[in-house]
Symmetry: C2
Subunit: 462 residues, 2 copies
């Protein structure tokens, strides 16, 4: 449903609320997909939202609740009676319950746990024990397990019996007496074989799986690489404990990309969306980086202060070229670093490719630097010099162009090596990205410029 349609529906519902025509609201709501219902509820005035939520059918209520923001969930949970809370959580898959529990304050968590039955409570506690961002935290414990001596017919009977409560039934896992994972069959396999064939005859035995403690990014990579719609998660003794489904992976892939993008822009990533974050949260995620980067600019200040008098005596026009030099160096560096960081994240570049990458960047950078130097010379001499009337002598233009050449080459080398180095040192390549590389390249390019100017120019001026 388009956003505009949804806003129109919102107006209709607000009107129906005014005229207290709840029956009609109920009809309209139950035609919607839960994702759209959630969006709609979030747009309602805070006082009307719980009222409208209560008009949802029992099953819709749970599905909609899962799709809402944590803030709205908390608000609803605080006004729910125990019975209402139980009704919503009973309809939910355990992995969704855990996601919500992780974001709620202690008193709300207590109430949720109290209303769960013993089995669910045990499952919740198991999942909560897994390390942050691990496969264990995103898996669902509702999956279909089969036995290898069963026939296709027996498997179908089993699936028919338990399908209602399972998130996905299309990939079924074959386990032995000790719950160890020994094979996989898909419903497609089952459909393609006769009813009395034992599944051991055609089950896949080389099953790709993850351990509970594996990083969720690794799980996403495996599923994306092998085009899997579900991946079993096993414990240290190869016993299956849950499965990760493709819809969780879509979220992981989007989150990981967002995290990398955020880090590259020198912001601490957050699991909340921008609109959900408070001003203080945003401030907290941004200020440390800005402070660090500002303080690290001390180097450039020191270099300028050191060379200032000498540069000034050579030509005051030299100062005007500093921002251009530093910006071009920074841009050239982040082109290389961001490309390499993304390549590392997608596993297209590996640390052992470092020499190939370096050799490629050196060749690219020489080509780029040559073009830019010529353009820079022309710009200074023709545009700034002849058109704007500043006195750019040819030897000053030459010195700036040489400095630019060296800066671009060094920026590319620093830009491609730093992320790989970070990866080797088990640091996050995205964190060392643009801003840090910019700071390093700034200092280097300034240094190069000052050294080249002060050593090349004096003979021309004397």
């Amino acid at each position: 449903m388009e956003y505009e349609e949804l806003m129109q529906l919102l107006d209709e519902i607000l009107a129906l609320l005014q005229s207290k025509n709840f029956r009609e609201i109920k009809v309209k709501l139950n035609e919607l997909k839960p994702q759209d219902t959630a969006l709609l509820l979030e747009e309602l005035p805070e006082k009307d939202m719980p009222l409208v939520f209560r008009l949802l059918s029992k099953e819709n209520a749970a599905e909609t609740f899962v799709e809402m923001s944590y803030d709205s969930q908390e608000m609803l949970l605080n006004i729910f009676s125990d019975a209402e809370l139980k009704a919503v959580f009973d309809e939910m898959f355990v992995d969704d319950t855990v996601d919500i529990i992780e974001e709620m304050p202690a008193n709300v968590v207590k109430r949720i746990i109290k209303q769960s039955d013993a089995e669910t409570r045990k499952q919740i506690n198991e999942i909560l024990k897994y390390p942050k961002d691990s496969a264990g935290t995103i898996m669902t414990v509702e999956y279909v397990s089969l036995r290898k001596h069963w026939t296709v017919k027996e498997c179908f009977d089993r699936i028919r019996k338990i399908a209602v409560d399972k998130e996905t039934i299309y990939s079924c896992y074959v386990t032995d007496d000790k719950r160890k994972l020994i094979g996989k069959v898909t419903v497609k396999d089952l459909l393609l074989h006769d009813y009395d064939t034992p599944i051991s005859e055609f089950m896949e035995t080389d099953v790709i799986c993850a351990e509970t403690t594996d990083d969720k990014e690794f799980v996403a990579q495996q599923m994306s690489k092998y085009d899997l719609s579900a991946l079993p998660v096993v414990d240290g003794e190869n016993r299956i404990v849950g499965i990760v489904t493709y819809d969780d992976i879509l979220d992981v892939i989007e989150q990981e990309a967002t995290e990398d993008i955020t880090k590259m822009a020198a912001v601490t990533p957050s699991t909340d969306t921008y609109m959900e974050q408070s001003v203080w949260q945003i401030w907290k995620n941004r200020i440390p980086w800005l402070l660090i980067l500002m303080i690290s600019a001390t180097f450039t200040g020191l270099i300028i202060n050191t060379f200032e008098t000498r540069l000034n005596s050579l030509s005051p026009l030299l100062f005007a070229c500093i921002p251009m030099l530093m910006d071009t160096g920074g841009n050239a560096g982040s082109q290389a670093s961001v490309t390499v960081i993304r390549g590392l994240a997608l596993d297209e570049i590996r640390p052992r490719d470092v020499l190939k990458v370096l050799w490629k960047e050196i060749r690219v950078s020489v080509l780029l630097a040559a073009c830019l130097s010529v353009a820079c010379f022309a710009k200074l001499y023709l545009l700034d010099g002849l058109a704007f009337g500043f006195d750019y002598k040819w030897y000053i233009c030459l010195v700036v162009s040489i400095a630019l050449f060296v800066t671009v080459v060094i920026a590319k080398i620093v830009g491609c090596l730093m992320p790989i180095l970070a990866k080797v040192c088990k640091l996050d390549p995205a964190v060392v990205a643009s801003p840090f590389i910019t700071t390093i390249v700034d200092a280097l390019s300034l240094m190069i410029f000052c050294l080249i100017s002060t050593s090349v120019l004096p003979p021309f001026l004397s």
Copy 2:
């Protein structure tokens, strides 16, 4: 399979090649998943690769071929006999064939088309007609369609009969006599109902679908939002022409994120990976942006040249603060812009939220600016002044701090507004990101600094 294991296997296969033990290579290869076989083949010396490829079983050959890089595919196609080519493409899904055709030179395409049967050729031509990056180009034409008067048993019979050739069978689409899409049933639904129930009794009639010309990013958003494993694609008259499956969407989501990241770093995106691109291609994707950005730095040069003499007469130390000011402004701006760009891409921020975003950024920026100004004052006065011995008078520190405050606030405002403005003007928000915003913020911050210095400082110095 881990990369290290794969490299070990590679060594084994190279040894087996030496001893011409092809039978053993065959055994080893047919144990692998096609994705790993493809990786392995790419690592082999060019002369051995076709030989090893020919050892693959017929079905494995096609699946492996699909997973290889376009360069390797082209190389193989050039040495394949017509029969070999036909064998590989006959086993392939049409959407994969089209992907390959789009990347191959004309003579290779001609051979592929020539070896296809009439039906496939028609399907290929249909898909090739859809606009670039549209739903039509990523869909598969192999799907299961059912009729609404059929019973569950009839549906299962149908699925059993055709499942082998279909990419996914779990979402089946119900069509009328004119192939119009009227409903959807999943295999799970079928399993949960009795054999003699007509599917019209339980089929979902409100089916989320895309049109062939919709952007693939829109398809990805829909599937991710509604947690769908497949989405039907219809033509202008609501006739189903194909489906998009979740594995295609995983690729789309990763590609879109890579494209956005690449554009933010001022590089023209490419569909090839970094390792696949030649030095010239990389150069071509980077040089225009570096040139544009370098030329646009003319403004900063002009500003410095204009104010130089006056700044120098006030205090030569002022120049040393320019890089810090410009960098901090640039960093502050790209923090805001990148966050907003990602929010827009994930549909978490909409253009109509512009005032909310602006108000949030203004509050955040004032908080950030206050912190940074105080830190900047302290750094200049204590570190650069007292520790390093430069003569930073308190009023110079104050002027720099004030300029920093204004710069940070303006940088944040420009940073959050530009992407939204781009979106409204139907431009790509990612393209206006960091580097362009940095250039604008650079010029503005420099202007602010020069104006504040020259208007505030003179009374103190006279």
